[in-house]
């Protein structure tokens, strides 16, 4: 490669770098704007031109978590998410392990079926859940929403865990069988300790999915079990005067997710291709 070409390539790289910086900044404007709004007093929030430099205040961040029921909603969100993870991940892991160990010609159709199920419109599932929930008097209870979230989460968990189990060599199962393990013992003693990182990733993704879920939470919860997304959606709606407050709430909801995302970074693509986080 000639020196001239190398210089040309370096210039392109720099252009791309600067372009990406610009794009990233513009792309993050809504987020930055929300964070700024959450730190503003109303007199700074409603100005033309928009205020960039102001005296930040944490007043609304404190207010939203103390004077409103947000702590209660957070608890609801956590209970429901944790419940979903504790049912979905163990059950999904067992099935995924078995799927990764049976012949591919049997596993293939099951995996395709699960993938298809994942594509079902959630609305079609929300209606019967709502009707049955009404009959059984279970609307606005934890178990109903947890079961609904397990339903949409299970195919995803199985897909994700299946990928992790495939990476654990089958030789280990065979060695364990020869060493005297039943299938259950081989799973518990040999495979499970090796699958723990994968299960952590699956658990975090499931947690994220449940924490972010909106449709089922909207139609299946009421005053007793309302989750954070439902609360912020109704809260941050129309009333302009509470912008700073709702921005503080929204930013607060976002923070743990950013944390989880930083942990999951390495596995993001995997989670995404096993099934989108949202939906």
């Amino acid at each position: 490669m000639s020196a001239q070409m190398r210089v040309g390539q370096q210039r392109t790289t720099w252009l791309i770098f600067i372009g990406l910086c610009l794009f990233t900044f513009i792309n993050l404007t809504p987020l930055i704007w929300a964070v700024l709004t959450s730190l503003k007093d109303p007199r700074d929030a409603f100005t033309i031109p928009p205020t960039i430099i102001f005296e930040p205040t944490l007043k609304y961040h404190i207010q939203v978590w103390t004077e409103n029921d947000f702590v209660f909603y957070l608890m609801n969100s956590l209970i429901i998410s944790a419940g979903t993870v504790f049912i979905s991940v163990p059950a999904g892991s067992l099935a995924a392990y078995a799927l990764s160990r049976i012949p591919r010609r049997s596993a293939g159709p099951i995996l395709s079926a699960l993938f298809t199920i994942r594509m079902f419109p959630h609305m079609l599932l929300a209606i019967p859940f709502f009707v049955m929930g009404t009959f059984l008097n279970m609307i606005d209870t934890y178990p109903l929403l947890i079961l609904a979230l397990v339903a949409i989460n299970q195919p995803f968990t199985i897909w994700l865990m299946h990928g992790f189990f495939l990476e654990i060599p089958r030789d280990l199962d065979e060695a364990a069988a020869i060493d005297g393990c039943s299938n259950w013992q081989a799973f518990r003693i040999v495979i499970l300790p090796l699958a723990r990182p994968g299960m952590t990733v699956a658990a975090l993704f499931s947690l994220l999915l449940s924490y972010n879920e909106f449709l089922f939470a909207l139609v299946l919860t009421g005053t007793d079990t309302k989750t954070l997304p439902v609360a912020i959606a109704s809260f941050g709606g129309e009333d302009i005067s509470s912008w700073s407050l709702s921005a503080a709430g929204a930013v607060g909801i976002m923070l743990p997710i950013v944390l989880v995302m930083l942990i999951l970074q390495r596995h993001l693509v995997r989670g995404l291709t096993a099934g989108a986080v949202k939906g």
Binding site: P49, A98, M119, M123, F187, I232, A276
Partner: protein, 291 residues
């Protein structure tokens, strides 16, 4: 399954039992409900056969929502693909510093969709939203981003793109990283320009990933709910009412659960047709790759 593995069948029990109870049974129940005129408010239901389907398929609102869904689907997926692919190529080119960018660019996707929608709402809100406030500073009269039928559609497409472009970007970036670099080096040695390398080496190699991500996105648009619900609620009027929004209105606002179920089944059929078409395209692309 080999004899010593027979115990594995038991491993399926918890998961498949759960799926049967919380997924298959409700779905079956929904199909059953779709044959009833069922207003949940009164609890009265009468069997009407296919009447719900016939009603729906002959009314303008369904076709309107179908059309809206298609516009939003193709508009946003096209935008997401173009921007996402460009970003993926840029990240691939940068290599070293790509990690920081990929995390930052990914943020909009990982944030709770409702929260993301609120962020965008605060951008787009009339007068005091960031965009309007900025435009007004320069005395430019802003459009009614969420209030006019055309702009509302555009806003929804942009919102969808804001949230889902990172997904497209990440999937394609991962696929790029999986490319055999010797292919690219060979192209370089052969004296191919960057454009030719992209067209004749990179894109053909990425076809499976491209089809995968486009199909996932297209199908997701049919479930697309959170963003529109928060941004426009389907309005103004029914300008941004997708099939999903319409089903929600029918089922949970008007409590016509029979008709709503029928609409859900129709959506499922549309998605299934889409899925089959894409699958066929996928297979063709794979076979094309074999040649």
């Amino acid at each position: 399954m080999v004899r010593w593995q027979h115990g594995l069948w038991l491993f399926f029990l918890p998961s498949f039992g759960l799926l049967a109870v919380v997924l298959l049974w409700p779905l079956g129940y929904a199909v059953y409900l779709s044959f009833f005129d069922y207003y949940l408010g009164s609890g009265e239901r009468t069997f009407v056969g296919l009447a719900n389907y016939i009603d729906l398929l002959t009314e303008a609102r369904l076709w309107n929502s179908m059309w809206t869904t298609i516009i939003i689907a193709f508009g946003s997926v096209a935008l997401e693909f173009l921007v996402g692919f460009a970003l993926a190529l840029a990240l691939y080119r940068l290599n070293g510093s790509a990690k920081v960018f990929s995390v930052l660019l990914f943020l909009p996707h990982i944030v709770t969709p409702v929260v993301a929608a609120l962020f965008l709402k605060w951008m787009l809100a009339s007068n005091w939203g960031f965009i309007d406030a900025t435009l007004l500073t320069f005395n430019i009269e802003p459009a009614d981003w969420l209030g006019s039928p055309v702009w509302a559609k555009v806003s929804v497409i942009l919102a969808d793109a804001w949230v889902f472009t990172p997904l497209v970007m990440m999937v394609l970036y991962a696929a790029l990283q999986g490319l055999d670099t010797s292919l690219l080096e060979a192209a370089q040695i052969d004296g191919a320009s960057s454009w030719n390398t992209l067209r004749h080496v990179i894109i053909p190699a990425l076809i499976p990933a491209i089809i995968f991500v486009i199909s996932i996105r297209l199908m997701d648009v049919f479930r697309f709910f959170d963003l529109i619900y928060v941004l426009t609620g389907g309005g103004p009027g029914t300008a941004t009412e997708t099939i999903t929004m319409y089903t929600y209105q029918l089922g949970f606002r008007m409590l016509e659960v029979g008709k709503a179920s029928a609409l859900g089944v129709i959506t499922l059929i549309v998605v299934a047709i889409l899925l089959l078409t894409i699958n066929r395209g996928l297979n063709k692309a794979y076979r094309g790759g074999d040649r």
